[in-house]
């Protein structure tokens, strides 16, 4: 395009002058549309029309990896983005969701005004004033009639910590609610409980550099390649030729990239890890000194795993003795072994114990507190970790306990509020709130930035529960989510990119997110919506210090003081921005200079005894095993890197749409498909005791016979799942239930 008539390309035409140029036109308006020019600001070339006049960095709002995106601004408005080059998390890269993060903000179905269901049952546009008065009137009315604790909220891991903290504080201290929980229950509760019980605090110990420093990386129930592609980037940067062990009943993308894939029978993971512990103990491949000095109840654990002999474990897991031995040898021989788990562990009826079985392995081999080690939970949502510390739901603000008088006193003092405003009991968990609706204890529900009607296990129950609610408020960026369509009152929220705040990623790194785009219509930040509610409710005075997200961050600092998650050393957002994010704890500013910090190097844990606990329990059978009537085991999980959860956002990008199948599909083994006369790409009916759906068959040996797999992103999938929960974390057991399959 720089050479309007390349003589070499066409000598004859070049001699024709203007006629030649018309006959062979090398440049013009269409060519100029794609013309690239240097953007400045340390960026490379960008299309002319997207040339920025400023840039700013902010963390992405999808997953917990917590990548930083460099936002290209023109007149203050975002016009494009590139992954931040120097951020210690993503090192210049982003997944497709990150690249398309701005594209989903312009969707036509963004909520632009509050909507109220009218007498005819239709959603009608109303003013904010009417909306907020209605909100207060209806919820106060329910509280007057059924008690303060008869309204509850379901929050999220998708909004900044400041917004979560304000929501939790206004909800409980201002409005008098007792029960609030978040969709983080669906993804992280198991890890939280496991860490709290074992380490004394919800403290994922790792930093992403551990991916690069491990000699062996053990991934359990984690399809890292597509669920966390940027963490996989870090795995590939590991120069130590690590063993990559993937433990997953499916041959996933990650399993294909592994050096050892242990394709165990579903839910035999707990037995496997107890079996590994058995072998390590039997061969003396443990760090007795560390165990003696820094852990408790190891003797009980030794007794517990005694029966998990290799033969028994191979029988339970379906592994060969050779595979099992190789895994044990890897754990023993490799100097730095890191154990990582995701939803395959968390979303289980016994997930806490499975997570702790990995923690136990890390403890007994001293694969903790050293570079490249750890029992590491990879989180799901961008701010699940913020929610864990500051959502004021299960935990009192700052990782405290509602039931402890001293904790309540501390918080009351820090916030300058009467201590009696703080409930002396923990919230119900998500499933308990749903049960509360069923039993009539909860009559009003406020759902913020989550899509219960899509994601809740045994989804068909949600429509029934909806009928039992006197008033349902949904606060979301889209008016079109399955849950928003059920609401009585819909409040339009500003999205990521249209507001400020901080997220905390999987490795405890706090990052800033900023306002780089105008929210459509009258949509407001969740922060300001909650502030307005406090004013309309009549409790605005109590939250006067919570003036802005950044003022709230200062409150969070106060709340963290002396806690394991102490962040008092972080001055402000600018410091976070300049430091490339700051990991907690950070009690003094100097700590922020080290960008890769891990916990427990000193072997001191957060329990009262400073010792980590070995916690164990006998494996149990599945809550719903395959039967004669429902002979297949249904697994669910992520479909592609381009899909996010219930797809409220990712289905708005036309580019992301190209990167995943438009139709729901079910993976089925060729042996099963042949037996049932199911051919590829034909419709299949999948039925559980709770519902029946249709999907296209993908006939593939990546899934084992007797099992089928459905990606969770399609709205019908949770009609099938079985409402069972982890005993301790109350996390839903999404990944195993019994179904029958037939050609549709």
């Amino acid at each position: 395009m720089n050479a309007p008539l390349d003589p070499k390309a066409n000598s004859l035409l070049s001699k024709l002058g203007p006629l030649g140029a018309l006959l062979r036109q090398w440049e013009g308006p269409l060519t100029r549309e794609l013309l690239l020019n240097p953007a400045g600001f340390g960026l490379g070339k960008v299309p002319d029309r997207l040339k920025p006049d400023a840039t700013t960095k902010m963390v992405c709002g999808y997953c917990s990896t917590g990548c930083s995106l460099n936002i290209h601004l023109k007149d203050g408005q975002a016009v494009g983005l590139t992954p931040a080059t120097d951020y210690p998390v993503n090192l210049g890269m982003a997944c497709p969701k990150g690249w398309e993060a701005l594209a989903v903000l312009d969707a036509p179905d963004r909520a632009t005004t509050p909507l109220l269901r009218n007498a005819a049952g239709e959603m009608e546009s109303i003013s904010w004033d009417v909306a907020l008065k209605t909100f207060c009137e209806r919820f106060k009315g329910i509280q007057d009639q059924h008690g303060k604790d008869s309204i509850a909220w379901i929050g999220t891991g998708q909004i900044p910590t400041e917004e979560l903290a304000l929501l939790g504080a206004v909800g409980k201290f201002g409005m008098g609610m007792v029960h609030g929980d978040g969709n983080t229950r669906q993804c992280m509760a198991t890890a939280v409980t496991a860490y709290k019980q074992s380490f004394g605090f919800d403290a994922p110990p790792f930093t992403y550099a551990d991916f690069e420093e491990s000699d062996a990386i053990v991934l359990v129930g984690s399809n890292l390649c597509i669920a966390h592609p940027i963490m996989w980037e870090r795995v590939l940067r590991n120069k130590k030729s690590p063993e990559i062990v993937v433990i997953d009943p499916r041959k996933t993308e990650t399993a294909c990239a592994a050096t050892l894939h242990l394709q165990i029978k579903p839910k035999s993971d707990l037995a496997l890890f107890y079996g590994v512990a058995h072998m390590l103990i039997a061969r003396g491949w443990i760090d007795e000194e560390f165990i003696r000095a820094h852990t408790s109840d190891f003797d009980g654990f030794v007794a517990h795993v005694e029966t998990f002999t290799p033969n028994a474990v191979c029988e339970t897991t379906g592994l060969s003795r050779e595979q099992f031995d190789r895994f044990v040898n890897i754990v023993h021989e490799r100097k730095a072994v890191s154990f990582w788990w995701t939803m395959g562990v968390n979303q289980s009826y016994e997930g806490v114990r499975v997570a702790q079985s990995l923690i136990n392995l890390a403890l007994m081999t001293r694969n903790i507190g050293r570079p490249g080690t750890g029992a590491n939970s990879i989180t799901g949502q961008c701010n699940a970790m913020g929610s864990r510390l500051f959502s004021n739901t299960t935990n009192l603000l700052g990782g405290r306990d509602f039931t402890k008088e001293k904790d309540r006193q501390d918080v009351a003092k820090i916030l300058d509020i009467p201590v009696e405003r703080i409930p002396d009991r923990s919230s119900w968990a998500y499933n308990e709130i749903m049960d509360g609706i069923d039993s009539g204890r909860i009559k009003g529900l406020w759902v913020i930035a989550t899509n219960t009607a899509h994601s809740w296990i045994n989804q068909n129950s949600v429509a029934e529960l909806r009928k039992k609610l006197d008033f349902l408020v949904v606060q979301d960026m889209y008016a079109s989510t399955e849950t928003a369509l059920m609401a009585d009152l819909m409040l339009p929220a500003a999205a990521w990119g249209e507001k400020e705040g901080t997220f905390i990623n999987s490795e405890r790194r706090i990052g800033v997110t900023k306002k780089v785009s105008k929210a459509p219509g009258q949509a407001l930040t969740d922060f300001n919506i909650v502030k307005l509610i406090s004013h309309y409710w009549g409790c605005g005075e109590m939250f006067k210090r919570w003036e802005s997200p950044e003022a709230t961050f200062q409150i969070m600092k106060d709340l963290s003081k002396g806690q394991p998650c102490d962040i008092t050393g972080i001055q402000d957002y600018k410091m976070i921005d300049d430091s490339g994010g700051v990991q907690w704890p950070c009690s003094v500013p100097e700590l922020a200079k080290d960008q890769q910090r891990r916990l427990f190097a000193d072997g001191q844990f957060f329990t009262p005894t400073k010792r980590a606990k070995f916690i164990y329990e006998a494996p149990r059978s599945m809550p719903e095993s395959p039967s004669a009537e429902y002979p297949f085991l249904l697994l669910t999980g992520r479909g592609t890197a381009s899909q996010w959860h219930t797809q409220t956002r990712t289905k708005k990008s036309k580019i992301l749409q190209k990167l995943y199948p438009a139709h729901v599909y079910i993976e089925i083994n060729p042996i099963d498909a042949e037996r049932l006369s199911i051919s590829a790409n034909t419709d299949v009916t999948i039925a559980s005791a709770r519902g029946s759906i249709t999907a296209k068959a993908v006939v593939t040996a990546l899934i084992q016979p007797g099992q089928v797999f459905l990606p969770m992103h399609y709205e019908m999938v949770n009609q099938l799942t079985h409402p069972s929960f982890d005993t301790y974390s109350k996390q839903p057991n999404y990944k195993c239930c019994a179904v029958q399959i037939s050609p549709a």
Partner: protein, 611 residues
């Protein structure tokens, strides 16, 4: 920063310690006793807060403080990609190429999104795609540790022999003599989309709003300043890089058919992309989307153009054949009308052909590609055909002009001679143009558009429609001249009807014989085409069979019965039957051509979605 400091510059650095509002921003926090409380003094009501928040939401000054002003000249990102691009330009006999390390690609598809964003493409436009290879099911002859899956990231292969470039009628493609990058000249493109048919890797993409195609140019302007292409920059796993390749190696790999599983054979265009792997078992994999039945683009204007042009040729041949078989007054009387009808048909055909172009105003460039492009040749061929046909028609009608333009009289004596010369020329140019039409599709190397498959269709259509028009011509002539259809004319008419039935049956049988491939055990293109016809395209396919059977078998049978057994019926009965037969046959051929496109099973790289 919630407006407590109206004159502040916003931003996160304006954190005012909460109890101390900034100067000039008096703010009193009072318990709002009732939501509707009126403001007194500086106290704010909930409604006032609402107004403040709504205003604040539209204010975008907050990030100013964070914005970055410095620029080192070299992009910051270059530290990640500097080793992924060549240090020097290719030498003679070399060119740039993509190299993909399959063992590092895990299918995150960031390359697609990165290309889309860094190149500022349309909302739904992607120049890079990620396909999926899977183990074949049922597994057979497997040596290795299957099952497995493998992602294939793919963009333009910047072929050594680019089919797009060869096929383009207007030279809108340029292969850079130094870098070898195959670049599309957007402003040169007329939007004929033939490159889309020509490219065996489904690379060029049509932009409806612009009326042109666009495609990957390996970010040539980035490479020119040692900046990596967008996809190279975006891959978290450094699986994509730019390499200098030797053209001899490209040829050698193509000759060995060594490219990547699931992709069309490289010996056609000599793609330069190198897919690297340490796992030979990848060769055993198959495209994950092999079972997906997605009809290809219908190209309605091309369907109409081809059918109409072939009708015109058939008409001219029928008219000529009748004159040869049965010289005499009845036939002579219809020939001027046949020539005129053919000319009108050609005009219609050329007209609808324009509808296919995104930018028909630049169609005059179509001769530029004559050297390599069959489309260019087809366009020129039909232009020539139209001119011959016009001259031929003129030989019948010029003498009618003499009363109005006496000067024309000079040429009148030469008209019979001109007719004798022009008729074979017209027929020949028509045949040649139709041959070019056939070659337009054969040259794409699509397995369903081979010579064996295409030529019988195109020439068959001309034959069927020509033969179907013969009885109409004879009956119409009979009507116009008030001559009863008797003797040899009647025999000829009967003969034409029988010929129509034979041709129709033969063509239908030939087309239907494809369906035997439904029993193929592998997903051959023939089987896939048959599945397309009998599943998603079944309504069209059924209609095509019914119309062809009606037009070339049932109605001709009725016409034959009438001619043989009921010759005394008024002439409009056989004429009506002949016209209906022609109409049904024509619609049948239109649908046949529609299906020719839609069930054509394009060549492409492995697709990403198994459903």
């Amino acid at each position: 920063m919630e407006h407590t400091t109206p004159e502040s510059d916003g931003g996160t650095a304006t954190i005012t310690p909460p109890p101390q509002p900034a100067i000039g921003a008096p703010l009193l926090w009072k318990m709002d006793s009732t939501p509707s409380a009126q403001p007194t003094g500086s106290e704010r009501s909930p409604q006032q807060w609402l107004d403040i928040f709504l205003n604040d939401q539209q204010d975008l000054t907050a990030v100013d403080r964070f914005s970055k002003a410095h620029d080192h000249g070299v992009p910051d990102q270059s530290k990640y990609y500097s080793e992924l691009i060549p240090l020097s330009k290719p030498l003679p006999g070399q060119q740039y190429a993509f190299e993909v390390d399959l063992d590092s690609c895990t299918g995150c598809k960031a390359c697609v999104a990165g290309c889309h964003n860094l190149n500022g493409l349309d909302d739904d436009e992607a120049w890079r795609e990620v396909g999926l290879l899977v183990s074949p099911t049922p597994p057979k002859n497997l040596k290795s540790q299957l099952p497995m899956l493998q992602m294939i990231t793919t963009a333009c292969h910047h072929c050594a022999h680019p089919a797009c470039l060869d096929g383009c009628p207007v030279m809108a493609y340029d292969k850079d003599p130094v870098t070898g990058i195959v670049k599309h000249l957007d402003d040169q493109c007329i939007g004929c989309q033939y490159c889309i048919l020509k490219c065996p890797y489904d690379v060029p993409k049509y932009s409806f709003k612009r009326g042109i195609v666009r495609k990957c140019d390996m970010c040539s302007s980035r490479l020119a300043v040692s900046e990596a292409p967008a996809c190279v920059q975006a891959c978290p796993n450094t699986a994509i890089r730019i390499k200098v390749v030797d053209l001899e190696d490209v040829k050698k790999r193509a000759a060995e058919k060594s490219f990547v599983a699931g992709a069309p054979s490289p010996d056609y265009t000599l793609p330069t992309t190198v897919y690297k792997t340490k796992r030979p078992e990848l060769l055993e994999l198959v495209s994950a989307d092999q079972h997906v039945l997605k009809p290809d683009h219908g190209h309605t204007p091309l369907v109409a153009m081809l059918t109409i042009m072939q009708l015109a040729i058939g008409l001219l041949f029928a008219s000529a054949a009748l004159a040869v078989i049965l010289p005499g007054s009845l036939v002579d009387s219809l020939r001027p009308f046949a020539a005129l009808a053919a000319l009108g048909t050609i005009g219609l055909g050329l007209g609808v052909a324009q509808l296919h172009l995104g930018r028909p105003q630049f169609a005059f460039r179509a001769f530029l590609g004559l050297r390599t492009s069959w489309l260019s040749r087809e366009i020129i061929g039909f232009g020539l055909f139209a001119k011959c046909a016009a001259a031929f028609a003129a030989t019948f009608w010029l003498d009618k002009l003499v009363p109005f333009v006496p000067q024309v009289g000079i040429v009148v004596p030469y008209l019979p001679l001109a007719q004798k010369i022009l008729e074979p020329l017209t027929l020949l140019s028509g045949l040649a143009a139709t041959f070019a039409s056939v070659m337009v599709y054969v040259d794409t190397r699509r397995p369903m558009w081979t010579m064996r498959f295409t030529a019988p269709k195109f020439f068959g259509t001309a034959l069927i429609l020509g033969v179907a028009s013969a009885p109409i011509m004879l009956l119409a002539a009979s009507l116009i001249t008030q001559t009863p259809l008797v003797g040899p004319t009647r025999l000829l008419c009967l003969g034409a009807v029988v010929a129509l039935a034979l041709c129709g049956a033969a063509k239908l049988a030939y087309d239907l014989s494809l369906l035997r491939h439904l029993r193929d055990s592998d997903m051959t293109p023939q089987r896939k085409s048959s599945l397309l016809l009998t599943q998603p395209l079944l309504p069209f396919f059924a209609a095509r069979v019914i119309l062809s059977v009606t037009g070339t078998l049932l109605l001709p049978l009725a016409l034959a019965i009438q001619i043989v057994a009921l010759p005394t019926l008024p002439i409009f009965v056989p004429l009506g039957l002949a016209a209906a037969s022609f109409g049904a046959a024509f619609l049948g051929e239109l649908l046949e051509r529609h299906l020719f496109f839609r069930a054509s099973v394009p060549l492409k790289m492995p697709g990403g979605s198994p459903v």
